[in-house]
Amino acid sequence: MNVFIQLAEFIYNNLMTISFFLALFVFFVFHVKQLVQAAMINQKLNVKKKFMRSLEGMNFRKLFTKRVAVLVLPLLILGGIFLFYPRDSVTFDDYLNKITSKEDVVARYENFNQRFYSHHFQDVPERQDDVDILKSLRSKTPSLHENVDTVACHEDYIFSIDETNVHITYKQHEGNLTHVDSLSFEEETSPIEIFHPYGLYVDYNKLVVIGQVKENIPDGSRDSAYLEENFRTVVKVFDVGDGFEPLDTYRMDGVLTDVSFNGTNLMMSTTRYLPFDYESFDLDDYRPWSQMNDEDRYYNRYTSMRYVERVKPNSLVSFHTLNVRTDNHDFETLLTDYRHKVAMKDNDIYSIANSYTFYEISDGVSLPNPVRSTDTTITQLNVIGNRLYRHRARRLEGTVNLDVGVSIAQRDFVILTLSDGHQIINKLDRKMMQPVQSKTVEKEGSFRHMYYHNGLVYLSRFVENSPYMNVYDVRDDDGIVHKTTHESSPLTSCTVPVGDRGFLSFNRGPSTLHAISYISSEDNDIDFVHMRVIAPLDYHFRLEERPIDCRNVHYDSENRIFSFPIYVSARRQYNFEELPAVLMFNVSEGGSLSSPDVLHMPLSFISDNPFGYRTHTDGDYRYHITPNGIVSTERTDVSETIDEVLFP
């Protein structure tokens, strides 16, 4: 109550000042909104004009000086207030070192390796063979982040990819489907170039397909062939409004590892591993480049690259941003470890890698392990407009588990590191401006999964074969707080958020598949856990060794419906026959799970292609998309198939 009285007194005493700032704020917001809207409209006008035959110059004034001045004035006032506002100062260390020349890259590599591999004792990792590294790097499927997937949906069409094709299906009225065309890339298949599409999206009536080609594939299966062939990342753009005509092709050097689309720009990460010890190695051949259509390649200069300090300098990793509407492309290159994790969200790109500090020793002195400590370095890049900027790098104590130790949310992200037998939860704001909040957790048992959602970090581990789950609250700026411990763990490698306060995970039992929902109360004191065996009584599951691919699991938050693909084996006389099917079940607000409905898919939909199942809802209809075809049903009722289409 006291607080309210104080607040009321403050407002009463500072009415003029508050009114002034409020008016200033409203004025500023209004002008920013107007200006952003105007900039967007005029950018589109500019694009339109480019396609028009103008017989005069196209001098285009983007913004009026007067309008900019109107915006800048309140900005200056607000900036001044921000600048002089008292707050704790935060210091940043810049761990990005400028590269001066080609020789500098080689010197950094040799200097690092001389120290890292100075002694082959027990604790020092063996040097990995270049060929093995290239094999593992090239066999990895690129990670598809926001808005890029193996299926893209347009107002009228559904686009889906298989190994070498993009299938185009027209959505007719009342859930009917027609296969319109297949964009085949097989024609490009030749001894020197094979295009494999990995992801796609639709941007403003343009279909964008992202894939890879191999170039210079040498004859024979000898290992050194891996060192000679080149991987290129290729982006192909098609015109949806003009019969899927090919518009532009962009090429970038390197293996595609990560791709994301933020609504305006395509963001990609490509890796070029540097086999320094290969006898024909010349660094100039590995300098990253990009190319649009048949134009000349644009090579990145060595002086524009940066070395992520103390990280293994064995790869040139390039981050690209590409706007297919305006043909604007930009890229930045880091000399870093090929074993790094890339996280992409909105306009931000994070590259996370382990970094090493060595003991300072004199020449001729040997130590069993030259590595004094291993830390985690995070490098952030931002997309602003159509340009890519290196933002900053931060270093955290301990090593990071690159597969499961990073989770990114709307305003912040959590990194779990391991240092001296302790686990550390680190929370950073998305701009990496604020000091890192961290909490050391005793490492007891073996760590399994981390899940971060709505300000709560869930950590699961096994202690003497029993699962435990600890929940930590990271919402408070004062520090990370341990909330509760559960003597069971609903977390698995496939955990999907349900609402603000819950999640649902899938887990394979010895002979069943079950779903577990976890709903926490607002104060997190009481939690509801529901488990249901997702298995119809007269079916058996084909239980596979590998974990469930979470990309195949879909949650329709509007109808609170989960759908995912399975293979069921139906008894036919004395034999079991395997049939593809889709299971759908409902999650109530309290977390209880309904018994599942089964949609039997056509037998021909069985596939070994990379993606298994996606779903798309449009009005009252649900489209179940597989690499071999699409089945349409009612949105909430899968008892009857409306239509099905099989790709050629």
Partner: protein
């Protein structure tokens, strides 16, 4: 005026290079393949690598094919190339063609002018105005979902709410 005919793989690229917007009523067929030649039209057959030269030729043709509007002012009568006109406006039931620094009365109805210039990048923005897209300097969003067009000569033309949707669709806004 022009119709681009080319194999599917290069059509979109050429359209971008040559800045050809296909029109239903066309006199010129621009193609890279003799098979697309139409006997009752004027045909321009070229190799893709000559696209830049062809673009210059098309510019010259477009310039030569420009529609001339007859305008009157107190000094007399003048034939004006449509590309020089910023916009047409109706004032006191008379149609005026507005140029960079001149104003001419046109003895046609606005809908007649619109019909004459339908392939020339002119767009109707209100009952009283017809605007040359190439002469729009800046589009300023105004209140009530309206747009204000600031022309290269500094004049301001408002996009009426009735024509707002058509205007946005034409410009892909």
């Amino acid at each position: 005026m022009f119709k681009l005919k080319a194999p599917r793989g290069i059509r979109a690229r050429l359209r971008k290079k040559l800045k050809i917007v296909d029109s239903k009523r066309y006199d010129y067929v621009v193609t890279t393949d003799k098979e697309y030649v139409e006997e009752d039209k004027i045909n321009i057959v070229f190799r893709e690598e000559d696209a830049k030269k062809v673009n210059r030729i098309l510019n010259a043709i477009a310039k030569g094919e420009d529609v001339y509007i007859t305008g009157h002012n107190p000094r007399g009568m003048k034939h004006i190339e449509s590309r020089r006109i910023h916009y047409f406006v109706v004032e006191q039931e008379e149609v005026y063609a507005i140029l960079r620094d001149a104003k001419f009365r046109v003895r046609h109805k606005l809908y007649e002018v619109e019909e004459m210039l339908q392939d020339k990048y002119f767009i109707r923005v209100s009952k009283y105005a017809l605007v040359n897209i190439n002469k729009i300097e800046y589009i300023k969003p105004a209140f009530n979902s309206k747009l204000l067009l600031i022309m290269k000569n500094g004049d301001q033309v408002e996009v009426n709410r009735r024509y707002y949707k058509t205007f946005k669709k034409t410009l892909d806004l």
